[in-house]
């Protein structure tokens, strides 16, 4: 249970600013009633731990997450998505200890795939990566406020960011269901169509990808390649991950050309491999004797993206001229990786059996543990 403070109502905002509890924007006061309303949307106790960063001796409870979600401006029905996003960001593979303190100053990009996104009013269409939608704006902001207030990820404390990017306020959007036979991100990752998933990645700010004049699949994909193999990205030449966010026109062009998503991801991964000279000619020396192996492959090139599986291909944005986006990880995938979690709502039976949590063979558990078996399971 956290402390309750009693503050002059007319000074509450200034108090929060002065105490360093905001990201620089006003926040909604986390009153006990508002926090309780958040917690009521998940089947978790207020003191349950969502996750933590053991290497800095910090853990976040459901109540602390709810407090920061209220402050971010979330509606209670967004909270299950916030909890799933925090669970993903605190997975060891995400390496929040590094992501929240690196000079690289990464955003915590949150992509929501599934029916719950539309149900809570998230935006996957016009301005999906821009301003104006409460759910997009506040879910992403809640994650960053937890990073700041619970894990001390602020300048002057444990965030050593040199420059940062505007996505550190919030960078969250919903995936638009792609037209068949393409499938949404959650299905590409092995989740069920009826699931809603949250995928988080530590990223640079988004880059616009414009191609208004060609519907030839290779042309569209090569335009993305030109945005991917950019020597100034720290992961280029070492191998990173990325969200490739295709607008409807670009996705349609590639799909109508007969390309599967797997083929598109393989093309982007392969064609974005970069010659070492392209780095050195742009003033970027190759690392020698470091942990980042920059030995060219058999094709004489280095990876910008580690593999086709490291390309997270999603569709979003409004129809019109072809404006897409590319959101690369800020660092090589050997240091930190994107993580996906399924969103669980209050009332769902345990355990969560998404592919990220079904490695436990229930038949091997003792009788005392079988009470966790979901209804209907043998």
């Amino acid at each position: 249970m956290t402390d309750i403070l009693e503050i002059d109502a007319e000074r509450v905002m200034e108090e929060f600013f002065e105490r360093g509890w905001t990201d620089g924007l006003p926040v909604v006061p986390p009153t006990p009633d508002a926090v309780d309303a958040m917690i009521a949307t998940v089947d978790l106790a207020r003191d349950d731990v969502i996750g933590g960063i053991p290497r800095r001796n910090r853990w976040v409870t459901v109540e602390q997450a709810a407090i920061n979600a209220v402050m971010a401006g979330c509606r209670p029905d967004y909270f299950p998505i916030v909890v799933a996003a925090l669970g993903a960001a605190l997975d060891p593979a995400f390496n929040a200890n590094a992501a929240f303190t690196s000079t690289g100053g990464a955003a915590t990009c949150v992509v929501v795939s599934g029916p719950l996104a539309a149900a809570v009013g998230m935006n996957a269409s016009h301005n999906a990566l821009g301003s104006g939608n409460r759910a997009n704006a506040t879910i992403g902001r809640a994650v960053r406020l937890v990073a700041r207030n619970v894990f001390s990820a602020s300048t002057g404390d444990m965030d050593a960011t040199s420059m940062g990017n505007p996505g550190k306020y919030t960078l969250c959007f919903a995936e638009q269901e792609p037209p068949a036979p393409w499938v949404p991100l959650r299905a590409q990752l092995g989740f069920a169509p009826e699931d809603t998933t949250v995928t988080v990645m530590s990223t640079e700010a988004p880059r616009q990808v414009a191609n208004h004049l060609s519907e030839v699949p290779e042309d569209v994909l090569r335009t993305f390649v030109s945005a991917i193999k950019v020597p100034s990205n720290f992961a280029v030449g070492k191998g990173g991950q990325a969200f490739v966010v295709m607008c409807p026109e670009h996705a349609d062009a590639v799909r109508r050309g007969g390309w599967t998503q797997e083929q598109a991801r393989e093309f982007l991964s392969r064609e974005s491999r970069i010659r070492p000279e392209e780095l050195t000619e742009n003033g970027v020396p190759l690392e020698v004797g470091s942990a980042n192996d920059m030995t060219p492959g058999s094709d004489g090139r280095l990876p910008a993206l580690s593999s086709a599986d490291d390309v997270f291909l999603v569709t979003a944005g409004g129809p019109g001229p072809g404006w897409s986006a590319y959101i690369p990880s800020f660092a090589p995938s050997k240091h930190l990786r994107a993580v996906t979690r399924r969103v669980r709502l209050a009332g769902e039976s345990l355990p969560d059996c998404g592919p990220d949590a079904c490695e436990i063979d229930l038949s091997t558990l003792s009788g005392g543990h079988r009470s966790l078996t979901p209804e209907g399971a043998s």
Binding site: D3, R58, S102, G289
Partner: protein, 188 residues
């Protein structure tokens, strides 16, 4: 006449008042045996291995070392594993970790040094000057407020071999004092 009543609002405190972290018991600095074994933990940052190797050479002149071992981590963004550190600690007497020349790698090199302290191996961490305050804050969160470090000017990655050697020399005596205050006596 109207009266203005002061109105208050009850809110949750959004930050966590951390419970005090159990302090790390630093390894005792005892006189070194002849043939002492120095460990250098290279985190894989560019030029870290070179600078640490040069520092190891300097330490041979200042302490009665029998061996200098270099261990390279696969990623500067992760600490050594607890079991791995315990295993390595069994075969060394002193440890220097580094290079902390970025946010994550300075925090994690500090973490590596403290792993060895917990195992009874005197240690210190090599960092660049712009990360002194970052390391100080992490030291508090890890139970070692005020923990020492070896500080060289930033940047290191762009320096020539001659410049690196100068940097190594500039922190060698501090390393001797942090690892073994008796080291100078042992040589006298």
């Amino acid at each position: 006449m109207t009266t203005t009543l002061s109105r208050t609002i009850r809110v949750h405190r959004p930050v966590v008042e951390s419970e005090p972290v159990a302090p790390v018991d630093l390894a005792a600095r005892t006189p070194l045996p002849e043939g002492a074994r120095l460990l250098l933990v290279d985190n894989g940052k560019p030029r870290a291995r070179d600078l640490l190797a040069m520092l190891g050479e300097e330490m041979r002149r200042l302490l009665p070392l029998g061996s200098v071992e270099m261990v390279s981590k696969p990623s500067a963004a992760y600490p050594l594993g607890d079991e791995e550190a315990a295993e390595i600690a069994g075969r060394v007497d002193l440890a220097i970790t580094g290079l902390g020349d970025c946010g994550a790698c300075s925090a994690l090199s500090l973490h590596d040094a403290l792993l060895f302290e917990r195992q009874g191996v005197p240690a210190t961490v090599l960092i660049t000057d712009v990360f002194v305050s970052n390391v100080a804050r992490f030291a508090v969160s890890l139970g070692a407020p005020g923990y020492h470090s070896l500080v060289v000017p930033h940047p290191v990655a762009t320096k020539s071999d001659d410049q690196l050697r100068q940097l190594a020399r500039s922190v060698a005596s501090a390393a001797r004092d942090q690892l073994s205050p008796q080291g100078a006596l042992a040589l006298s």
